[in-house]
């Protein structure tokens, strides 16, 4: 269309407006609609596994749930009944050890990354290391703890398992803590400095309290992940059919049971009773993990 024609078109009232409506049966519309339907189907299919897992857990694990599960020891081969009380205790102890090791370390490192030297070379390297650790296969955390702890102390133990889990928690704690400390508004920090606070006081009195919800979210997510990990525990904590507390005192330097390893061991056994227990243990484990996730979400949302 030349300029003259265009002028003519705009000045003339006779000209027809182009039809901007696309026919529903146009090839392009059909393609678009077809792809949209395909996307809906794919999205629904992607949700099927979650519901299938949850339903199976409730059907096969739920029927088995009783108080005895939480108070009794795992059964031996042909024994009936039994529970996994020691595995729950073991999981709690090892996740506890992992949290004690990883949370203070992770948050302190994150303070440096976000407040004291966010652009320094060492901060960049640390951030890179943390991201690399995120991708560390969990089995390698186990291999490391085996080499560094089990071989040195000479025994499978709860601390060995805890150290392996800590290794997997550290990067999550660092990265989420750094992220939530960065969200603290700059003016709040400036105001504190203007009042004569040292940078340390700014961190303790302004940054940490303000960023607390976000950091707790990160820590809970890391705990939830650690609670479900199996691979790092296989040959660091091994498994045990006995209580961690024996004769009234806590003895941690011995093989320790955990829910995740119990599920793995029992799933491969040819005994119906053990398989039922594996399902029940899965239900308990998923319940714990989902509750932790919901809690972290509730805390995280309150922040905003």
């Amino acid at each position: 269309m030349t300029q003259a024609e265009l002028n003519l078109a705009t000045t003339s009232d006779m000209v027809e407006l182009p039809n901007l409506r696309r026919s529903l049966w146009d090839r392009r519309s059909l393609t678009s609609a077809g792809l949209s339907i395909g996307t809906w189907i794919a999205a629904l299919v992607a949700c099927v596994p979650l519901f299938s897992v949850l339903i199976m857990l409730i059907i096969r694990g739920g029927s088995k749930i009783s108080l005895a599960l939480f108070t009794e020891l795992p059964p031996t081969a042909f024994e009936m009944g039994g529970g996994f009380g020691n595995a729950i205790v073991g999981t709690l102890v090892m996740v506890g050890i992992a949290s004690i090791l990883s949370v203070p370390l992770g948050i302190t490192a994150a303070v440096f990354l976000s407040e004291f030297g966010p652009t320094t070379k060492i901060a960049e390297i640390t951030r890179f290391c943390a991201k690399t650790l995120t991708g560390l296969p969990s089995i390698l955390a186990g291999v490391f703890a085996y080499a560094a702890v089990v071989l040195v102390t000479g025994t499978y133990s709860a601390p060995a398992g805890g150290i392996a889990l800590a290794l997997l928690m550290v990067p999550t704690v660092i990265l989420t803590a750094e992220e939530s400390m960065k969200m603290v508004p700059r003016i709040m920090k400036d105001a504190a400095v203007g009042m004569g606070c040292t940078q340390t006081q700014v961190v303790w009195k302004v940054v940490l309290p303000t960023a607390m919800p976000g950091m707790i979210t990160g820590v809970i997510l890391a705990v939830a992940r650690a609670a479900g990990e199996t691979a790092p525990l296989l040959f660091t904590a091994l498994f045990s059919n006995y209580w961690l507390i024996q004769g009234g005192k806590l003895e941690v330097m011995q093989p320790t049971a955990s829910l995740a390893v119990l599920i793995y061991n029992f799933s491969g056994m040819p005994f119906e009773n053990q398989i039922e227990l594996a399902w029940a243990a899965s239900l308990v484990l998923v319940f714990i993990v989902l509750v932790l996730n919901l809690v972290s979400r509730a805390i995280g949302e309150r922040k905003i």
Partner: protein, 325 residues
């Protein structure tokens, strides 16, 4: 200064602000040094992990050298070790999982970001995807053994009977095998791919899409020709990180892949992966085999490290490129 404050706030002798005292400054120094020390600790930890695993593997590396990577036998009694089948199984299962999980993950990301859903429903789907990531892998393994394998077995046997001449369907599914392992693996990487792809799709300024619609595109022309290409680096990074996750995943594979030391194209034949081999053999390994397994761990570490670093670099590059525009 002090007299000034005294005039405006007569009741108080002390100013509302004061410079830090000596002990506060000292504490500040110490605390800052301490946080710096913690960052150093993280870096040293990563180095220590590599050195510790590498050091324990060193005797085996010296003894078996590179033939370890190309040999296919694993015989503890004869002292002959090779992990070619495991490397093959690791790559094959991860690629299969990446194809399936990547497809669903990216589709899910598009579904959640391109106004397919009202806000409430969008949050529901988002939570479902996040919960998918929260379920422990050992539970997926259990589910795979007792739910997935029985469900897919008839279909697999039918395909083997009728399409057996295609190498992918060359054997029957006798229980654990490559396909169930890859399917569960794809479920596990879907959330990773979906989450990171979503971030990069959401980072596109709304005016880009508005411009596309203004040109008269249909929804899918806008998505496929404008949105996805704009977010391509981020989506590619998401796929690479998903691959990294698949390569290192252990439990689901140890439970589902069948622990068989063979190389086969067939989707239904049992196989083995590096991570699964470590999980299955480590607890009962003798001294010599432990060293060899450490060597395998080094290989796994190298593969995942390379893939993850590439993924991180792509994502960093993609987001900085967007930032500079």
């Amino acid at each position: 200064m002090a007299t000034n404050t005294g005039q405006t706030i007569p009741d108080s002798d002390e100013p509302i602000s004061s410079p830090p005292t000596g002990s506060e400054v000292l504490f500040d120094r110490i605390f800052r040094g301490f946080t710096r020390g913690c960052t150093w600790f993280i870096i040293l930890l990563v180095i220590y992990i590599v050195v510790e695993i590498g050091g324990k593997a060193f005797p085996a590396m010296k003894e078996y050298g590179l033939s370890f990577l190309t040999s296919t036998t694993w015989d503890v009694n004869k002292g002959r070790f090779g992990i070619l089948p495991e490397i093959w199984g690791t790559l094959y299962s991860s690629l299969l999982a990446l194809i399936i999980g990547g497809f669903f993950g990216v589709t899910m990301a598009i579904f959640l970001t391109q106004d397919f859903l009202p806000h409430k429903l969008q949050m529901v789907f988002k939570n479902i995807v996040e919960l998918l990531a929260a379920i422990p892998s050992v539970v997926y393994g259990l589910w795979g053994i007792f739910v997935l394998i029985p469900i897919i077995r008839p279909a697999c046997d039918w395909m083997n009977a009728h399409l057996g001449w295609i190498p992918f369907f060359g054997t029957t599914l006798s229980g654990p095998g490559m396909l169930p392992a890859a399917l569960v693996l794809s479920i596990m990487i879907l959330p990773t791919v979906a989450a990171i792809s979503q971030d990069s799709l959401l980072a596109i300024p709304p005016r880009v899409k508005e411009a596309a619609y203004g040109m008269g595109t249909t929804r899918w022309e806008a998505i496929l020709r404008v949105m996805v290409p704009t977010a391509a680096h981020g989506i590619f990074g998401a796929l690479v990180l998903g691959l990294g996750r698949a390569l290192g995943e252990t439990m689901a594979l140890a439970m589902l892949v069948g622990n068989s030391n063979q190389i086969s194209l067939s989707l239904f034949s049992p196989a083995n992966t590096l991570a699964a081999m470590l999980a299955l053999n480590f607890p009962e390994a003798g001294r010599n085999e432990t060293q060899v397994l450490m060597y395998a761990a080094v290989i796994l570490l190298l593969i995942t490290l390379v893939v993850n670093v590439i993924g991180q670099v792509i994502i960093t590059w993609a987001s900085s490129e967007r930032g500079s525009k």
